[in-house]
């Protein structure tokens, strides 16, 4: 029989510590939708709306029965540059609009997969899709885009990196009337996972099946409460406590994943063990690090604390789920984390420290606003730095940077909702254009040769 202590703990986690399932994301293959512009757009709209027809209703049903909020129900699709190979820029923009319409019909806030995988080279379709990103993101509301520009196996495609600096600036300009929000929906990856349920970087990998259900858990607030209770314990005890908490959080994710998969008749893919913060106070990864005792996020000790947190979350979560994947770790998106925003505003957290933190967290430089007049070459070099950390350390890294049009250091940009608001951060003004303009490939590291 369930005891009262267990009931109270679970109810408190949900009511007071913001425990929730961040997303159930249905991955849908669009590989069978080939065709010219209008035909492709119609085919993908039909397939997405047919396959995910019951996603929102089933999500809401589970949410109610188990009493656990499921914040987002979303869809990811095959990278459109692959599914829509043969299309031109105009054709890709039509496809983006079809994705947007499909998301609206389904009642979901984001759809991911307006993506290209160019870690080793670019096809004509990759080139056209990348060129279409600014317009596609400016003319849609729900479409999320990502480009994988590097991997440990193939190195870093610096031609793509150079181009993406310019694409990000153009996206910021075309969405300047809404805080350059287009850039908040564009992720540049190294070692992008095929089964990530989180936006804006979710896409349905080409090695995946027809449809799949991936679940992303959350719970920074729950971990923070657990850490606070152990104010006197040593770090080993702290790590054990985080593991125990991560186990419980992930078990809920696994339960929801299996139940949603059964009710939708779609195979269960993975549970992503991520601590995903929201702008709500008490739902912050920075606040966990601070509860561990580092003073303020961004100070010395931050990287070590984050490394331990990230590792303990994985160790606790891995036993709780039969299949773990995606990004799995702690996210450090600045605009979506009240503690990070405060640390930046207090002058404690810098871009350089964030870069160091990305070497030990699950993703990268995420939701960071920089001045609108930042040159494209600086953005490209920032992407290259981040990709290098990922490629050399065999981990996923990403850049989601917003050169906020018309804003400078000290200003703030507001995106609303889960995307939060970001203080504009100082970025190095050194000119790396000679390095960026060299182009070519940064070769794969020696440890890629594992065979």
């Amino acid at each position: 029989m369930i005891n009262i202590g267990d009931i109270l703990e679970t109810v408190n986690m949900i009511s007071n510590d913001h425990l929730d399932i961040r997303t159930i994301t249905m991955g849908i293959s669009l590989l069978d939708c080939g065709g010219s512009g209008a035909l492709f757009a119609d085919k993908i709209y039909d397939k997405i709306t047919r396959r995910a027809e019951r996603l929102v209703a089933v999500g809401e049903e589970i949410e109610k029965e188990y009493g656990i909020p499921i914040i987002n129900k979303r869809v990811s699709v095959t990278p459109i540059a692959i599914a829509g190979a043969g299309l031109d820029v105009e054709g890709f923009v039509s496809a983006a609009k079809a994705m947007d319409r499909a998301a609206e019909t389904l009642g979901i806030n984001f759809i991911g997969g307006y993506s290209a995988l160019v870690q080793k080279g670019m096809t004509d379709a990759d080139r056209a899709l990348i060129a279409s990103i600014p317009q596609a993101l400016a003319e849609t509301a729900r479409v999320c885009s990502s480009v994988n520009i590097g991997s440990t196996k193939s190195g870093i495609n610096m031609d793509a990196v150079k181009e993406l600096g310019e694409i990000i600036l153009k996206t910021a300009y075309l969405t300047k009337d809404s805080s350059s929000i287009g850039c908040a929906k564009l992720v540049v990856f190294a070692n992008a996972p095929d089964d990530n349920p989180f936006m804006a970087g979710a896409f349905h990998g080409v090695g995946e099946g027809e449809t799949i259900l991936n679940v992303g858990v959350s719970g920074p607030g729950v971990v923070k409460t657990a850490v606070e209770k152990l104010s006197g314990g040593d770090l080993e005890k702290l790590s054990e406590e985080i593991k125990r908490t991560a186990f419980k959080i992930t078990r809920v994710g696994q339960l929801v994943a299996l139940e949603a998969s059964r009710r939708l008749g779609v195979p269960f893919g993975i549970v992503d063990l991520s601590l995903a913060p929201t702008p709500a106070v008490g739902d912050s990864v920075a606040e966990i690090l601070e509860a561990m005792g580092i003073g303020q996020c961004g100070g010395c000790g931050t990287t070590a604390a984050l490394a331990m947190l990230n590792d303990a979350v994985k160790k606790g979560g891995v036993m709780a789920s039969s299949k773990v994947g995606g990004l799995s770790g702690a996210f450090i998106p600045v605009s979506e984390d009240a503690g990070m925003i405060k640390a930046v505003n207090d002058g404690v957290l810098s871009l350089e420290k964030l870069e160091a933190m990305t070497a030990v967290c699950s993703v990268g430089l995420d939701m960071i606003a920089v001045p609108g007049d930042t040159p494209a070459a600086v953005l490209s070099a920032m992407i290259a730095d981040e990709a290098a950390i990922g490629v050399i350390n065999s981990k996923t890294t990403a850049v989601r940077v917003i050169p906020a049009y018309g804003k400078s250091v000290g200003d703030s940009v507001d995106f609303g909702g889960l995307l939060g608001s970001a203080p504009v951060m100082r970025i190095s003004s050194c000119d790396p254009s000679v390095f960026v303009n060299r182009g070519g490939i940064i070769p794969a590291p020696i440890h890629s040769l594992k065979n």
């Binding site: 009262i4 703990e9 109610k64 009493g67 078990r251 339960l255």
Partner: protein, 89 residues
Amino acid sequence: MNAVITVTGKDNKGIIAKVSAVCTEHGVNIIDISQSVLRDYFVMFMIADIGEMKIKLADFVDVMNALADENALKIQTMHEDIFNAMHRI
């Protein structure tokens, strides 16, 4: 198949009676109950068999939420599997 019903709020006459009446009406059988009052604050945990419930669990949650609103209480009705998943290996 069980559900866990947690009721909290300012103490008043007849809270258990009202919750039990709604359970009976929908074919829900109460199998365990624990209740206490701390400084006028009412707390109750109830485990109920929903195997023969006449409506869907999601609809029963709505009924309980409506009862909570009418009586200025907080009622959480949750499938027991979430507790088993979290606290049992």
